[in-house]
Amino acid sequence: MDETPRRDFLAVREVAKLFQIGDELVAALSGVNLVIDKGEFVCLIGASGCGKSTLLRIIAGFEQPSSGRVEIYGHPVTGAGSDRGMVFQDFALFPWLTVRENIAFGPRQKGLPTTRVREIADEYLNMVGLAPFADRFPAQLSGGMKQRVAIARVLANEANILLMDEPFGALDALTREQLQDELLQIWARTGVTVIFVTHSVEEATLMADRVVVMTAGPGRIEADIPIMLERPRDVSSPDFNEVRRSLTQRLTSHVRRQLKAA
């Protein structure tokens, strides 16, 4: 593609992904185009198997697209990089490191002096409110605390794109609400860009500037819907329910159309 005068912050261009399953080639993604601005909070939503996690992993650089490419400021992504930080559903913390050491992992790789590494770790420990638990191991934390560590770990690594793969899916409802709130605060304070995979319409309505609806077979983007609600959003307000209902309708109508086609 040609150079455009305005370079997009993050662009997914004509990305397709084929997986070999047995003797068959299965298309997980086909013709995916997506442009995301700096500082946006974008939710990817869709039923399981629609390729939303695969798209996220391609953006992360953990997997290569079969065709097409992902660009950041026009530079193609070729592998994992510290500008993009993945927050996994099951945390993926290093179990042999303490909370502080987990958060310090990225800064340590950069070869910063030990005192500086510790300063950074403590700053992000405080940001996620885990300072009293700094010397605990992940096995000694609750799920919500583990996910806070995971978020702090990528932020401490100066990631400016947070890739979150159903990050709160493994948490109980109360902890989830708490963490959604904290994430929105961190997002507002730090100005990071967030790409957030979820299958909950309510979660998407609460968090997103834009909701990108994906459908399966092969995975592609079906709709791109801005959420115009003011922040902070109130899940019990009539406006919120209105937006959520219309989003749900659009989601189910796609599913229905798909079923009819099949």
């Binding site: 993009r84 179990p95 042999w96 992992f105 990225g106 790789q109 409110g129 009293p132 609750s142 690594n157």
Partner: protein, 321 residues
């Protein structure tokens, strides 16, 4: 959101959890009290989810005494049975426990039989330990890095793994004649056999450890800027440690088994040679004494490995031995 839910939400707040942590002792005692309504059940629920770091105080000492008593009771029972069987059968080929006890004292400090074996325990034990730990250390130094590489690097796995699988079923004792040709009639041959026996369990368990690491940990590390040799040191090695320690314990057992075989090849010192001499002289008390000393040395080192294991793996209580 209902007031109840929002009150309970705050229980997840780290500050509140921290405060609860500080008041843990009181909360602990209060826990059995059932609170019928309101936000409190949520709160206690949240505290209950809070993992415990402090060990439970209580009947720890009686528990330990009981386990010690049981551990001693069984061998005592065996010794009594042994004594009775020897006396009842009237055999002269097997000594009584008392005769073996005398031999052990003589082996340790002398003054009873006053023969070539009196008071020589340290000479033989140290000789065997040198060979066991020499071969064991060699197996660790070569086995762990090789296991990490096989587990992590596909080309090396393809290159080495089939050969290893071919060599592994060959009993180490089958190497004895060749090892005597390679290394002569001496301690080096014993070290080689110990090394061979310890090498395979260490390599296999290290490979298994690396292969069973959650691939997301490698992805997480690479996105945090960790790669190449740092990845091996900072992620692959620690992640495989629980499995490596399994391998070490197995290998250490094999090492003591093989030292006896190794020292039967004509070395003048070592517990294996003592047992061999006992056989040639028809001294069963000497043979059993050698066996018991090997058992004690083996269990002592095993306890050391377990303690090291618990220390290194303090992040994973489920792997404590």
């Amino acid at each position: 959101m209902t007031p109840t839910a929002s009150a309970a939400l705050r229980a997840e707040d780290p500050a509140v959890v921290a405060a609860g942590e500080a008041a843990d002792a009181t909360v602990d005692q209060a826990r059995p009290v059932i609170v019928p309504t309101g936000a409190a059940p949520f709160k206690t629920g949240s505290f209950a989810a809070e993992p415990k770091v402090k060990p439970e105080p209580g009947p720890l000492v009686p528990e330990r005494v009981q386990s010690l008593l049981l551990a001693v009771a069984f061998p005592l029972l065996l010794i009594v049975a042994w004594h009775e069987l020897v006396v009842l059968s009237g055999t002269r080929l097997v000594p009584t426990p008392y005769q073996v006890g005398l031999m052990m004292v003589d082996f340790a400090v002398g003054g009873i039989h006053d023969d070539a074996f009196s008071g020589t325990i340290l000479t033989h034990l140290l000789a065997s330990m040198q060979r066991v730990y020499g071969g064991f250390a060699l197996a660790i130094i070569l086995g762990v890095p090789l296991g990490l590489l096989i587990g992590r690097v596909k080309v090396i796995r393809q290159l080495v793994d089939p050969t290893l699988s071919l060599l592994r079923p060959i009993p180490v004792t089958a190497w004895l004649p060749l090892s005597m040709i390679f290394f002569g009639l001496g301690p080096r041959s014993a070290v080689f056999l110990v090394f061979l026996g310890a090498f395979y369990p260490i390599v296999l368990n290290t490979v298994f450890g690396v292969r069973s690491v959650d691939p997301k940990l490698f992805e997480a590390a690479s996105m945090l800027g960790c790669d190449g040799s740092r990845m091996f040191r900072q992620v692959v090695l620690p992640a495989a440690t629980p499995s490596i320690f399994n391998g070490l314990r197995l290998a250490h057992g094999f090492a003591w088994i093989l030292i006896v075989v190794g020292e039967m090849t004509g070395v003048p010192t070592g517990l294996g040679s003592v047992i061999m001499d006992g056989r040639n002289l028809s001294r069963t008390d000497l043979i059993i004494t050698g066996m018991i000393v090997i058992g004690i040395a083996g269990i002592a080192t095993d306890r050391l490995i377990v303690r090291l294991n618990n220390r290194v793996l303090r992040w994973s209580p489920q792997h404590h031995g």
